[in-house]
């Protein structure tokens, strides 16, 4: 008797494309079956007087508990009444109950949802509180109270249930309004002449229809279930046949004739399930995806493939695309810390197509060397970083010709093997500090766990190391920070914590993915020089992914320029700035040099040392 959380249904903001949605709906076989069942039930109830072979209330005591026959296709009940006729008429009660409940729930929930979402403040506070109150009431007991004075007619009970279900639609509408409002306020300044209210209500109404339809199908199902439960308890109109009432009567003779519970039970179950399936089908057709991850067989295969660093995917040929990467630096030196050849990353784009985000990437990093990877957003920089770490999303299709880390091939190795490398050989500093710390654990716990796991050290030892690390990365009060939760830190502090975490198990290669992009300009320089210091102190290799050529000039030894998934040029930094070969590199440099010629100048001399 519960309905799934309204929050789990995403809001569809796209303009209505009714036809396409209708086509998508019709293509869903389950949805069509469900809709057909509902149409049959509705028609059966509507035309019950024409369709029913007998008077549903006609008691024939000589013909009780008959099995199916031509005369009585579903047999007769304990009073000799025709089961099929009663089923057909019973549908009327269920449908009426559903309509009353859903109309009440909508009439109350939607307007209050609009008001609460739009005016916020106290209206929101009060109505949200009332919604919570209604949601914590046991419905049957409230119905018992109502029945005590208003009788067990369909209207009072279903209106009450509609009120109790209204928080569901209230919350849904409210969240839609809040979303639309926060989006529209951005544009509101540009829209002149129209009042916010009118815009919002127009937009909201177009957006809210879909999700409300989905919820309505659930509430309708709930109405049928609860109403039949009330009938089962004896709260109902005994003169009107109903599915719940039939179950209640069947229960009286249950141990003599248990088969009587099947027909009304099936009627309820089929109708309610059809409503649920129909709701889900509408949701799918509207594109209100219910948080389903890719579930196809292809995606599963891809998950396996992606779990292996740069391993040939099961579905892909072992040797990747023969397209030779532009500007191959004549093979990596054999003593390179990491060398990657021909790394390719693609994503299934539906219809069996693939979207290639990285093609034939070849690079190497030496011990103590900083390799910059530059390129504009969308050029595949982060894909390269995660590809090397083996941490691409499950649906990625990854392949490579060669991946060697510290003299050992990691191509096609097990996930367990890779877990052994991560943290201790190869580590990662993320871009966005706040979203990369687990909000539910203290900084100390997050720092200590990998150390204890990877280094096998005791709790106390891990604690001491964590404190020393925090002090090293410039955290002013390490013991206090150990106890803090991520939301209590500033972005700059969080990034320092993440850097401490990355180097905590003495990795030999550090991959930093735009480590300063999300930070305040004032703390960027500090974080960057911390990275550089740690890299030099520990003689680590580092791959620094960035879009900022200034950063490259500051701390990189060599640079790989990435454009649309391909490495177009790899060179020592001074050479690149002095003599860019590829037209794209020149373009990139020109745009930056215009802004900061002095910085590049400084870099040329600074990194030559």
């Amino acid at each position: 008797m519960s309905i799934p959380d309204p929050g789990s249904i995403a809001v569809d903001n796209a303009a209505p494309v009714t036809l396409r949605r209708l086509r998508r709906f019709v293509r869903n076989p389950l949805g069509v079956v469900a809709a057909s069942i509902l149409v049959i039930v509705a028609l059966g109830a509507l035309f019950a007087p024409l369709l029913a072979p007998h008077d549903p209330n006609l008691i024939v005591l000589s013909q009780t508990l008959l099995g199916p026959s031509w005369e009585h296709p579903f047999g007769t009940d304990a009073s000799g009444r025709d089961v099929l006729s009663r089923l057909l008429y019973g549908g009327r009660v269920s449908l009426e109950a559903g309509v009353i409940m859903i109309v009440t729930a909508m009439a109350v929930g939607i307007p209050f949802g609009l008001l609460a979402g739009y005016y916020a403040k106290w209206i929101d506070g009060i109505s949200s509180w009332v919604a919570n109150l209604l949601m914590s009431l046991p419905e049957i007991l409230i119905i018992v109270v109502v029945i005590t004075t208003l009788g067990s007619g369909l209207a009072p009970t279903m209106i009450t249930l509609g009120l109790l279900a209204s928080p569901d639609l209230f919350r849904l509408t409210r969240s839609v309004v809040v979303n639309v409002r926060s989006e529209l306020y951005v544009d509101a300044a540009r829209v002149s002449g129209l009042k916010d209210g009118r815009i919002i209500f127009r937009h909201v109404l177009s957006v809210v229809v879909g999700p409300v339809l989905v919820r309505a199908s659930f509430v309708f199902g709930l109405a049928i279930i609860v109403q039949s439960g009330l009938e089962f308890l004896g709260f109902g109109d005994a003169t009107r046949p109903s599915w719940g009432g039939m179950l209640s009567e069947a229960f009286q003779t249950f141990y003599r004739a248990p088969e009587l519970v099947f027909a009304p039970g099936a009627a309820i179950a089929l109708t309610v399930m059809s409503l649920v399936v129909l709701g889900a089908a509408i949701a799918d057709a509207l594109g209100t995806d219910r948080m389903t991850a890719p579930r196809s067989r292809g995606a599963r295969r891809a998950r396996k493939a992606a779990a292996i660093v740069a391993a040939p995917a099961a579905s892909a040929p072992a040797v990747s695309d023969p397209a030779v990467p532009a500007n191959t630096p004549g093979g990596a030196p054999s003593n390179a810390l990491l060398s990657v050849e021909g790394l390719r990353v693609a994503y299934p784009a539906g219809d069996g197509e693939e979207k290639v985000v990285l093609e034939g990437a070849t690079l190497h990093v030496d011990r103590g060397e900083v390799l910059g990877v530059v390129g504009e957003s969308g050029s595949g920089k982060s894909q390269l970083a995660f590809g090397i770490l083996g941490l691409l999303p499950v649906e990625a299709v990854v392949s490579a010709e060669r991946v060697v880390l510290d003299g050992e091939s990691v191509l096609g190795r097990s996930e367990r093997f890779l877990e052994g490398l991560r943290g201790t050989k190869i580590a990662y500093v993320p871009q966005e500090p706040m979203s990369n710390l687990d909000p539910s654990f203290t900084i100390g716990a997050q720092l200590m766990r990998p150390m204890r796991h990877n280094l096998g050290i005791s709790r106390g030892e891990a604690r001491n190391r964590a404190l020393a690390l925090l002090a090293r990365v410039g955290i002013p009060d390490p013991p206090r920070t150990m106890r803090a939760y991520p939301h209590e830190l500033s972005g700059g502090m969080a990034q320092r914590v993440l850097i401490a975490g990355a180097v905590s198990c003495d990795p030999e290669l550090l991959i930093a993915d735009e480590p300063t992009t999300a930070l305040d300009v004032t703390v960027q320089a500090g974080v960057l020089s911390l990275l550089r210091e740690l890299q030099q102190e520990r003689d680590m290799g580092m791959i620094l992914v960035t879009h900022d050529l200034g950063v490259v000039a500051d701390i990189c030894d060599r640079v790989a320029v990435l454009r649309s998934g391909r490495i177009v040029e790899t060179k020592p930094v001074a050479e690149l700035f002095a003599a860019p070969e590829h037209p794209y590199t020149r373009e990139l440099l020109a745009s930056t040099l215009d802004d900061a010629p002095t910085r590049a100048e400084r870099a040329r001399t600074g990194t030559a040392s």
């Binding site: 008797m1 519960s2 799934p4 959380d5 929050g7 789990s8 919570n132 949601m135 914590s136 046991p138 419905e139 049957i140 409230i142 018992v144 109270v145 029945i147 005590t148 004075t149 208003l150 659930f218 199902g221 279930i225 439960g229 179950l247 229960f251 249950f254 141990y255 248990p258 519970v261 039970g265 309820i268 089929l270 309610v272 399930m273 219910r290 991850a293 890719p294 579930r295 599963r300 995660f386 941490l391 996930e415 877990e419 991560r422 943290g423 580590a427 990662y428 990369n436 687990d438 909000p439 539910s440 766990r449 990998p450 796991h453 939760y485 939301h487 975490g501 990355a502 905590s504 198990c505």
Partner: protein, 313 residues
């Protein structure tokens, strides 16, 4: 933490007060007449008036309300207007039946639902698909219908469990368990599906968070991350679902009781409704709402233990 619990406790008590007060006045103002319920339809006007005076219904409404509330606060829920029995005593004998069913169903649903949801989230495919079907089935089949089928199969045909009757825990723990197994299963199926679905959604959402990837980059095994970090961050919405399921189970228990001939709060409420027995109805309401408030409080505390931001707020 203490302040958090106190504030939640106060909010819960306030909610319970609003509900019982609202219901008290609703009953009185819509014309529920316990005196008529007690003396029957064919009593004379004099008898009715005498009963009204005896029950104190001739006093002003506010005075009646204050009388009820001030006694209720001290644990005195008055006397049934129809049967002359003490309401508290009645509830204390009947409530354990319903509470056993509801709490049993929620515990079963939490354990099985969480396991299924977790498995469905990490092993897409057959299990996930089966879960989706169970979800629809669990919602579509009325729990009292499931109860009847279970009773028929496992009590009547196979004789594994008693078909009817409740055995108090203190009389025989094993008997108690076997007397509630079938109703608890019937009640929990819908909740299992709802909790599994919720946890599946939130595990999938949390698994794609940046910090999960970062934890993996530190060399922690995927399974350890799933069972500690992902599960802990995915649990709060599932906990909220759990408290909704408890409320639903209280309602469901009132219906399923009848199938197994258990006389819990459901049958008390139905009888009381027929007799307009306001003291009993109010007692049932108060107990149920307080129970729900308590369960919500426990879940809130668990929620805050999982979510440091809530605790700090």
């Amino acid at each position: 933490m203490v302040r958090f619990v106190l504030r939640r406790l106060l909010a819960g008590v306030f909610l319970a007060w609003v509900v019982v007060t609202g219901m008290f006045f609703f009953l009185a103002l819509t014309g529920a007449d316990p005196a008529r319920g007690a003396v029957g339809l064919y009593a004379t006007d004099d008898q009715l008036a005498a009963k009204r005076a005896q029950l104190g219904l001739d006093r002003p409404l506010l005075e009646q309300y204050w009388d009820w509330l001030s006694h209720a606060v001290r644990g005195d829920l008055g006397t049934s207007s129809a049967q002359n029995t003490d309401v508290l005593e009645l509830l204390v004998t009947r409530l354990p039946v319903t509470v056993s069913l509801a709490i049993g169903a929620v515990l079963v649903a939490a354990i099985i639902g969480a396991t299924l949801g977790l498995i469905a989230a990490i092993r897409p495919g057959a299990i996930d698909r089966i879960l989706q079907i169970v979800m629809v089935l669990g919602f579509g089949l009325p729990n009292f219908w499931i109860a009847m089928i279970l009773a028929l199969l496992f009590a009547v045909r196979l004789g594994w469990f008693p078909a009817t009757g409740y055995i108090p825990f203190l009389d025989s723990p094993v008997g108690w368990l076997s007397s509630i197994v079938l109703p608890v299963i019937a009640l929990s199926i819908g909740s299992i599906a709802a909790i599994a679905q919720q946890l599946r959604t939130s595990v999938i959402t949390v698994s794609s968070q940046d910090y999960v990837r970062t934890l993996r980059s530190r060399g922690l095994p995927a399974r350890q991350i799933l069972l500690t970090n992902v599960l802990r961050n995915a649990a709060p919405p599932a906990l909220t679902m759990l408290s909704l399921q408890f409320i639903a189970a209280m309602s469901g228990a009132a219906i399923v009781e009848r199938v197994f001939g258990l006389s819990g709060i459901g049958s008390v409420a139905i009888n009381a409704s027929g007799n307009s027995d306001i003291p009993v109805i109010m007692g049932v309401l108060l107990f149920t709402v307080l129970l729900i408030v308590t369960v919500n409080l426990v879940i809130d505390i668990a929620y805050s233990a999982l979510n440091p931001k809530v605790r700090a707020a």
